[in-house]
């Protein structure tokens, strides 16, 4: 009875990190590293009278998609906001380093998938968390340099904020859904520092208009837009080609130029409909209200203008 256009599949946004991994990878192919029974947990949370998680909210391991060997890391956005911390950060960095080191060997994986779902650094472990973010960025760049694509999948409750926004931007390919959000400073942070006139964090339509999946993909901050079900994420992830976009000084210079042009064209805009007006998109005020199919058609027509990936 549920119409076709209402999603009736397991949803990425609603699912746990483990359910996302299970839906993304080939059935029963996931092999976890440092899983719950190993009990590698945060030594810090008890100081704050907070319960730990068996996996510290970071699930890492190997598996396959359509038979191709891949590495995967997933943040549990519902545990401590999916934050970067000492243990969770070390697990992620360790996975990335292992992938870089194994490139070209029989243990190599074809792709790394990062299922990010994070508000940024865990406040209770802030120093370790900040270091984890920078080490993660370094490790991602090393993996890319080794010729292995790093793909971010963004569509969780916590979005990809703070260091998570930076990490996402360093990936070679970004897949996002309507609910997905990418930004560095979160809406509440902007409001706290610059006032509600600058950004009303409770105006959820505004938050999504600025940081949400549709805006990100239209502006080149993501490479692929998918409907919010797990199957659509899997399909898009499976299509990511094995070939790695070149990652050279020339790429970055071109990207710098593209971003400068973007700033020149849209820097004075207060909200995305103004950008869409300048960009000449049809119904600039109604982009958020298009149905998924309508938006996907619009995107196909407009094409993706992507960043340094």
């Amino acid at each position: 009875m549920i119409p076709e256009n209402v999603m009736n599949e397991p949803s990425w946004y609603e699912s746990s990190a483990r359910a996302r991994i299970n839906g993304l990878l080939d059935a029963d192919s996931f092999s976890e590293i440092l899983g719950p029974v190993d009990r590698v947990m945060s030594p810090h949370l008890a100081l704050f009278d907070l319960p730990p998680a068996f996996d510290d909210g970071m699930i890492i391991g190997r598996g396959s998609i359509d038979g191709r060997s891949v590495a995967v890391a997933a943040q549990e956005g519902q545990f401590m906001g999916g934050t970067f911390a000492e243990v969770s950060g070390a697990k992620l960095v360790g996975l990335l380093r292992a992938v870089a080191r194994s490139a070209g060997t029989p243990q190599a994986v074809s792709t790394v998938f990062l299922l990010l779902d994070t508000g940024g650094v865990r406040l209770q472990e802030a120093n370790a968390g900040e270091m984890a973010v920078s080490e993660t960025i370094r490790a991602i760049l090393d993996v890319r340099k080794a010729g292995v694509p790093v793909v971010a999948l963004i569509g969780g409750r916590a979005g990809a904020f703070g260091g998570g926004g930076l990490v996402t931007a360093c990936c070679s390919h970004i897949i996002i859904s309507e609910q997905g959000r990418i930004s560095v400073s979160g809406p509440e942070v902007i409001e706290t520092n610059k006032g509600v006139e600058e950004f009303d964090s409770r105006d959820r339509a505004l938050v999504w208009r600025v940081t949400g999946g549709r805006s990100r993909v239209l502006l080149g901050g993501a490479d692929a837009y998918v409907k919010g079900d797990i199957a659509s994420f899997r399909k898009s992830a499976a299509q990511v080609s094995n070939s790695v976009p070149s990652f050279s000084l020339q790429t970055l210079e071109q990207e710098q130029e593209r971003l400068e042009q973007r700033l020149q064209a849209y820097g004075g805009c207060r909200d995305t409909p103004e950008i869409w007006t300048i960009a000449g998109l049809p119904t600039p005020d109604g982009i958020a209200d298009l149905t998924e199919d309508e938006f996907i058609r619009l995107l196909a027509k407009e094409g993706i203008r992507h960043d340094a990936r």
Partner: protein, 104 residues
């Protein structure tokens, strides 16, 4: 944080082949439960770590009912709780047992 261990004795061991299973998430009002199979005894041990203080008798009542319903003999169960209500606890326990009963 409050920590305690609850012991129970089941009528039978839990069927299935899974060595361990995890269910739930340590989110507000939620909990994670790790099941580990520890041999063929009928004993059940449940390690509880909970952010809510003063509810040990309720935990004991919930786990007694769970053990009666499912007979999870041989299970070591470890719980990280962030203020879940008893109905959620029971639901997660049942979900965990279902995962352990899987045949592969």
């Amino acid at each position: 944080m409050e920590k305690f261990t609850i012991h129970a004795r089941a009528k039978a061991t839990l069927s299935g082949k899974s060595a361990n299973a995890i269910t739930g998430v340590v989110a507000s009002g939620n909990l994670e439960i790790l099941f580990e199979r520890k041999g063929d005894s009928l004993d059940v041990t449940v390690d509880v770590m909970t952010a809510s203080h003063g509810y040990q008798p309720v935990w004991e009542a919930v786990i007694k009912d769970f053990v009666e319903r499912v007979s999870p003999g041989g299970m070591h169960i470890a719980i990280h709780d962030n203020g879940a209500r008893p109905d959620t606890v029971l639901l997660r326990l049942m979900q965990g047992a279902r995962l352990m009963e899987a045949q592969s």
